[in-house]
């Protein structure tokens, strides 16, 4: 599904990712943990194609395609979804029209006709139920005036609508209370499948009680310094990152 080899990325002259390797197979859920400022969000953004980075080197292969050759929207239409850590407010663009545009762009990319209005509304209702969104949310401007929890839930809702093959969730759990966390996790779990992969970036082991990962990676100082199973997350929860820092520096 995704293979990253020796990825280097800088921003404002500072190297953030320093030779990162990561491989994600179909149907797998990978959790990426690590202290603040180690490059977790950078990794997510680079995979999605954000163009603010410098000296991007290395290889990112996604379903055999070199992602570096694709624009942000092309990557999305190839099935990559980024759940934002800080979802962006877009006044004046309603959720309905935003999603309809996105879905029809995706369909156009895949050589399909636009989704008929009735079908769109039906799918929207179905996915809204999945993440327990109340109807008012969908008719408001994108993220405008949404609470923190609503914004995160909205990310999962969009993911459900767009049905990506590879979803990267960047700290989707931060700022959520336990009930909201369960709703989000539940949404993700319902979308899991043999051909769908997830990269879940989180600070807290807590989320991984609900979204059980196949692999846990620790990202530190621009590299993945340790890979394990969900037990690694428990160990990190218990010991913190200091012992890893000591080990790797």
């Amino acid at each position: 599904m995704l293979r990253i080899k020796n990825l280097h990325v800088s921003i404002e002259g500072r190297e953030i990712l320093k030779g990162l390797d990561l491989e994600v197979g179909p149907g797998e859920v990978h959790a990426i943990m690590g202290p603040n400022g180690t490059g977790k969000s950078t990794l997510a953004n680079v995979i999605a194609g954000r163009d603010i980075y410098e000296n991007v080197e290395g290889e990112i292969l996604y379903q055999g395609k070199n992602l570096m050759d694709l624009s942000v929207d092309e990557r999305a239409n190839e099935g990559i979804f980024l759940g934002f850590q800080y979802p962006v407010e877009i006044p004046g663009v309603s959720m309905t029209n935003f999603l309809r545009t996105a879905i029809n762009e995706q369909r156009r990319y895949r050589g399909l006709d636009p989704m008929p209005g009735g079908e769109f509304l039906r799918v929207m209702e179905e996915k809204k139920a999945l993440v327990e969104i109340h109807s008012e949310l969908a008719n408001r401007s994108v993220n405008e005036g949404f609470s923190g929890g609503e914004k995160k839930r909205n990310e999962i809702f969009q993911m459900a609508m767009l049905e990506p093959r590879l979803a990267i969730l960047d700290e989707t759990d931060s700022g959520l209370d336990i009930d909201a966390l369960k709703v989000v996790a539940n949404g993700v779990n319902k979308l899991r499948g043999a051909d769908k992969s997830f990269i879940v970036i989180t600070h807290y082991q807590r989320l991984l009680d609900f979204i059980v990962p196949d692999f846990v990676h620790v990202l530190f100082n621009g590299r993945i310094v340790r890979t394990g199973t969900k037990e690694l997350a428990l160990e990190l929860e218990e010991k913190g990152y200091e012992w890893l820092k000591a080990e790797t520096t």
């Binding site: 942000v72 929207d73 962006v88 663009v93 309905t96 029209n97 545009t101 762009e105 008719n139 401007s141």
Partner: protein, 469 residues
């Protein structure tokens, strides 16, 4: 046909023209209007055309258009034209009463002035001066202040024709009235239409004012519209400008509002060479309300300058301004918003907002709010922003598969929608909505208004349901 060719030194030529044809120009004048004209031409002589040393004109230069030679007509344009053959309004389903001005003169296949069943009088100002001299005398030139503005003075001196509307007391005019100004001539032309619209107490009117040009010759338009909105009367006014790049359009719209009257004005600028719109309101009776909004979409070398002046003369009035602009390429613009709250105008609410999007490094906008407040119990605010499309919003939209072009469109469209949404006539709103999305896609040109519409209509990929915004 008495036509004059005006060479360089346009101001001097106009003075000469007035001196030589004083009799003819003032043929239909009442004594008051006669004196007004004489005073106005003297003011023009003193002021001349504004140049950039004039604080109110520092963002807009008329130097180039004033260098050209123009035809200026002192009598109605007598070319036999079938307007329906050359122009078709592109607003389908808009059931309106359409009148036209052709090269600055009121043009009608029927009578020059007529009274409709509901009592509304509509026709040419020239005909009104003959048929309803008292009515014209009671209002003409009473509200517009030309003392500090050479162009307004010149228009007043040369006011010969334009649209005249009189809505009697309590009459609610159901159908919108649409006036289409068409410039269609092989030579350069200087026109100065003068419109007078009178709403007696309790009257209601929707007026859609469209400025178009068909032939790509240089034209200089200096138009003035005076509105009298009586007690409790209500006016819904739209100005739609889609001009070619070789036109210089200067419009002055003055609204005089009496007690408890309501004004909603929307200025929609889609294309133009050089455009200067002056909108001024005098809130002369308590509890009057003025809502002024506008959008300007400019690209290439286009220039738009919007001056809004709201005079709160009495207590308990409200005014609200929302003007938005999107400037692309090397386009330039200015917004100057002046709110005056006089000493006695307590309990005034006055808001002003000007927001601009610049799409390139070369696009420019000067925005200047000016609040002048002499009363102490008022609520006034102003805001002005100039910015680019939010790069995070662009990334967010693209990360959902929306290509950069459409993402830009979506953001620009959302920006404009706030103003478009204020249009109360549904058929007009839909059409403007479509024109704006086409305009933002770079597909709307002046050709769009022509019956030979040869522009390619590509399907709009995104669609926005304004009702959900």
């Amino acid at each position: 046909m008495d036509k004059m060719v005006l060479n360089g030194g346009l101001g001097q030529k106009m003075l000469q023209l007035f001196a030589e044809h004083r009799q003819q120009i003032g043929m239909l004048d009442s004594p008051r209007i006669h004196s007004l004209r004489e005073d106005a031409i003297q003011r023009f002589e003193a002021l001349g055309f504004p140049d950039q040393a004039n604080e109110k004109w520092k963002s807009t230069s008329l130097a180039k258009p004033l260098m050209l030679e123009y035809m200026h007509f002192l009598e109605p344009f007598e070319e036999a034209v079938d307007l329906e053959k050359i122009f078709r309004c592109e607003v389908p389903d808009l059931d309106s009463y359409v009148v036209t001005q052709y090269n600055g003169w009121y043009h009608s296949r029927n009578a020059a002035i007529s009274t409709l069943e509901n009592g509304m009088i509509i026709g040419s100002l020239r005909a009104a001066m003959q048929a309803y001299p008292d009515l014209v005398d009671r209002h003409f030139g009473k509200y517009l202040d030309y003392q500090q503005d050479g162009l307004k003075a010149l228009n007043t001196a040369f006011a010969l024709d334009g649209l005249f509307i009189y809505v009697p007391k309590g009459v609610r005019v159901e159908k919108p009235v649409q006036i289409v100004n068409i410039i269609n001539i092989k030579e350069n032309i200087f026109v100065q239409p003068r419109n007078l619209i009178i709403l007696e107490p309790g009257a209601e009117l929707t007026l859609i004012h469209c400025d178009h040009s068909l032939k790509h010759k240089d034209s200089l338009i200096n138009s003035v519209s005076e509105f009298y909105i009586g007690d409790g009367a209500s006016l819904d006014h739209y100005k739609i400008q889609n001009k070619d790049s070789s036109s210089t359009l200067i419009t002055t719209t003055h609204f005089h509002q009496e007690k408890e009257s309501k004004l909603s004005s929307n200025i929609l600028v889609l294309n133009g060479g050089v455009i200067r719109n002056n909108a001024s309101v005098r809130l002369a009776g308590p509890y009057a309300d003025a809502d002024l909004s506008g959008i300007y979409l400019m690209d290439k070398e286009q220039h738009v300058d919007t001056h809004v002046y709201v005079d709160h003369a009495v207590p308990h009035c409200t005014s609200n301004e929302l003007f938005k602009g999107i400037l692309d390429d090397q386009a330039s613009g200015a917004f100057y918003g002046h709110i005056l709250v006089r000493k006695d105008a307590q309990q005034t609410l006055a808001y002003q907002n000007n927001r601009n999007l610049l799409l390139t490094d070369k696009a420019r906008i000067h925005t200047k709010p000016h609040l002048e407040i002499y009363a102490d119990d008022v609520k006034c605010s102003h805001g002005a922003t100039v910015g680019q499309l939010d790069p995070m919003a662009m990334f967010y939209l693209q990360s959902r598969g929306i290509d950069p072009h459409n993402a830009r469109m979506l953001l620009m469209y959302a920006f404009a929608a706030e103003v478009i949404n204020k249009i109360k006539v549904p058929a007009l709103r839909e059409r403007i909505d479509e024109m704006v999305s086409k305009r933002l896609r770079g597909e709307l040109s002046i050709c769009d208004q022509c019956i030979l519409d040869c522009s390619q209509r590509r399907p709009v990929i995104f669609d926005i349901d304004l009702s959900t915004l």
